[in-house]
């Protein structure tokens, strides 16, 4: 970790006695040295040596010590080297000015050094704070899950501040505290009353906060101004033992709060989007089935009642025709019901219910095509495999469902004489499975992003028009995308495809 939290802790100061002794020894040493060099350097040289001592002590010690050394040095010079010697009587005005000079030097250097130290201390604290806040930002930008982000932030604060922290919120009904994240396995215990108080008043609690200063915790709500019970609070243990500035804690909580609230807002927006998507899907097929389901049901009821009530009047050929009609409409209703149920299921299911596994596009396409083998009128389909050995990571049932819908739509819309093409290729980081036909395309203003959201689009007359809604929903579940391209080439081809994110099979 690049944060040097030691700069922020209590500095281990030398004991006063040790400092006084070193000053005393320094003065003895300078006096002894002065005796040696006195006859060579004279008073000026001796004064210079004492001045160095004053400067050194002023740099290293507090103001009192430096003034003491300045006066002491002056008295020693006066006693040993200024006439009349060996007396503390100050005989000249120059001596007084020397004392003043020593005092000025000691005061000036001490205050300058003190100021520099303060600035250095502030700079180190700001660097520590900036690095800590940047680490929190990094955690939230790398980790998608907000609770995991909070947990990692707690562990970071524990390692940097040296005390256990937890993020707690209040249960909206019981008003009991719930732990969202903690650096401690047993959790940080603080009476929920304090958390409630902090959240309700948007106030910090604990030492140096002005509120409940005797509390051995800091409790800082995420919401500074709003009294929102949805927002949690940060709780720090052993508040009296650690020399942590309240402004640093406030800055940490502000940073956590901003990212937590942003994440909550994103989740709310996503939930709202998904709800709107589900509602639009429901509206789409409800409006579609109201008309389209009645048509085959009318045929089935009509044909079966004719067979029941008019069997004597109907000839064998006519009866068989009616039975065939009932059968084909039942099959159509069955397929449509499957689609509707799938769409409802897709809308209701979350990503955890999707059975992701490795799938062979060729195998899936083969299985879908084989369903047409038993049909009286088989559509003309041609497979173009550009990515033969690639596998898709997805839910087989959903991919089959989506591909079946794409093929069904293409079969209904296709007008050309050439076969409908099913294409599998890899483009950059996507594996694409698409169907290309020569039929009515999509209008220029068709927005594939809205397919299945605002309206269904029917390229053919018959059907529920839910095909693209299903494909889009399936692609959403696979974090893929729907591709719709109309009027391709001179044949005016239409391509509708599914793009799956490429994933290497190990």
């Amino acid at each position: 970790m690049y944060i040097n939290h030691m700069t922020h802790r209590k500095s281990s100061k030398s004991p006063i006695l040790l400092e006084a002794m070193s000053i005393f020894l320094g003065m003895i040493a300078i006096t002894a040295l002065s005796h040696v060099v006195d006859e060579y350097l004279g008073l000026a040289g001796v004064s210079f040596l004492y001045l160095i001592l004053v400067i050194w002590v002023s740099y290293k010690s507090q103001l009192v010590a430096s003034i003491f050394v300045a006066i002491g040095s002056f008295l020693l010079i006066n006693f040993f080297y200024v006439e009349p010697r060996y007396t503390f009587v100050i005989g000249s005005i120059e001596s007084w000015s020397a004392l003043l000079g020593f005092l000025l030097v000691s005061i000036a250097i001490t205050s300058l050094v003190h100021q520099l130290r303060r600035q250095k201390d502030i700079a180190e604290k700001e660097t520590f704070k900036a690095n800590l806040l940047r680490s929190i930002i990094e955690i939230f930008s790398v980790e998608a899950d907000s609770v995991v982000s909070l947990k990692k932030s707690c562990l970071l604060l524990k390692s940097e501040l040296g005390c256990d922290v937890a993020i707690l919120k209040l249960d909206s009904t019981t008003k009991e505290s719930i732990e969202l994240a903690s650096s401690k396995s047993g959790g940080v215990k603080l009476d929920s009353w304090y958390i409630s108080h902090a959240i309700e008043y948007g106030a910090m609690l604990g030492p140096h906060t002005g509120t409940l200063e005797s509390l051995d915790y800091w409790c800082i709500p995420f919401g500074r101004y709003y009294k929102s019970h949805e927002l949690p609070a940060l709780v720090i243990e052993r508040a009296h033992e650690e020399n942590i500035e309240v402004s640093l804690i406030r800055a940490i909580v502000d940073q956590l709060s901003v990212h937590y609230q942003k994440r909550m807002a994103e989740i709310k927006a996503k939930d709202a989007g998904e709800l709107a998507h589900r509602e639009s899907i429901q509206n789409t097929f409800l409006s579609s089935i109201s008309h389209d389901m009645r048509t085959p049901l009318t045929t089935i009821i009509g044909a079966s009642s004719s067979l029941l009530k008019q069997s004597d009047q109907l000839g064998a050929a006519e009866s068989k025709k009616l039975l065939e009609l009932i059968h084909s409409e039942s099959v159509y209703l069955n397929d449509s019901t499957e689609n509707i149920l799938s769409l409802v299921k897709l809308g209701m299911s979350d990503s955890n219910q999707i059975r992701m596994d490795w799938q062979s596009p060729e195998e899936i396409i083969g299985a879908v095509i084989s369903r047409y083998n038993n049909r009286e009128v088989k559509p003309s389909l041609a497979l173009v495999m550009e990515a033969k050995d690639e596998l898709i990571h997805g839910d087989q049932a959903l991919i089959v469902l989506a591909l079946t819908n794409l093929i069904e739509n293409a079969v209904k819309a296709h007008l050309g004489s050439k076969p409908i093409q099913i294409l599998v290729d890899r483009v950059d980081d996507e594996i694409r499975i698409g169907v290309m036909d020569e039929g009515a395309g999509f209008p220029k203003d068709f927005d594939k992003g809205l397919a299945g959201q605002q309206q269904s689009y029917q390229r053919n007359k018959k059907g529920f028009g839910l095909g693209l809604s299903i494909v889009r929903a399936v692609m959403d579940k696979h974090k893929g995308r729907l591709i719709v391209e109309s009027s391709l080439g001179s044949d005016k081809k239409t391509y509708v495809g599914m793009a799956f994110p490429y994933k290497a099979s190990s």
Binding site: N334, W358, S360, I364, G366, A367, Q396, A397
Partner: protein, 228 residues
């Protein structure tokens, strides 16, 4: 004693009615059991040549019945289940069922599946270890694979896979069963091995890999070797 009847285990009146009618029309001898208790009674009296089983029974789980039947009997079991219940089908096949049909199903499809199961039983009883369908010949005992009369070269994994499928042609083997048998039980989740090797095997023995004649895919379930 193996009797000539088909045991239909189905609690729904309507489905049971059309199943019995369709099987009778196809010259089979159906016998209906609506509960687990009735099924056990039928089995105690006479062993059927085949069982059609709806997994949802009023007095028990159909999968438990399969497990219980497989301890004593070898007759084929065809399971009927709803289309969405894929996991149920896989469990049933793993327990020993031979085939499944998703509701709603076509009667022709059911009769075809019954015929496949019965033919396979006859072949097994004749201890016929040779599989031949269209241009493909697999001699399981000799470990030989011929396509259009020419021996084809397969990798050891492909050979093992094909031989295992040929031990019971027409039977659906689940992905789990195949992975466990060919690669070992620790590989049961590595489905991409199966997909890749099945793709390579198809490339060697199928005319069109995407429209296989021999190695048939049961989507979401597993694979089977086609039988006439």
């Amino acid at each position: 004693m193996i009797s000539d009847y088909i045991l239909v285990v189905e609690d729904d009146e309507q489905i049971a009615h059309f199943l019995i009618a369709s099987l009778s029309a196809a010259k089979h001898q159906p016998r209906l059991a609506k509960t687990l208790e009735e099924t056990n009674k039928c089995l105690a009296e006479n062993t059927p040549k085949l069982m059609i089983l709806d997994l949802g029974l009023p007095d028990g789980d159909g999968k438990d019945l399969i497990r219980q039947v497989r301890k004593q009997y070898d007759f084929p079991i065809i399971v009927l289940s709803a289309r969405q219940e894929e996991q149920e089908k896989i469990v049933a096949l793993n327990e020993g069922a031979d085939d499944y049909l998703s509701k709603p199903f076509n009667v022709e499809e059911l009769l075809a599946r019954i015929n496949v199961c019965l033919r396979r039983t006859q072949k097994m009883s004749m201890r016929d270890q040779c599989y031949q369908y269209k241009d493909l010949l697999i001699d399981v005992s000799a470990g030989l694979v011929k396509l259009e009369g020419n021996e084809i070269h397969l990798s050891p994994i492909e050979h093992k896979l094909l031989m295992f499928l040929a031990t019971r042609p027409g039977k659906i083997f689940t992905q789990r069963q195949l992975l466990s048998e060919i690669w070992g039980s620790e590989y049961v989740d590595d489905t991409h091995y199966l997909r890749i090797h099945m793709g390579r095997l198809r490339a060697k023995i199928e005319k069109v890999s995407s429209d296989p004649e021999y190695l048939l895919t049961e989507l979401g379930i597993g694979y089977r070797l086609a039988i006439s």
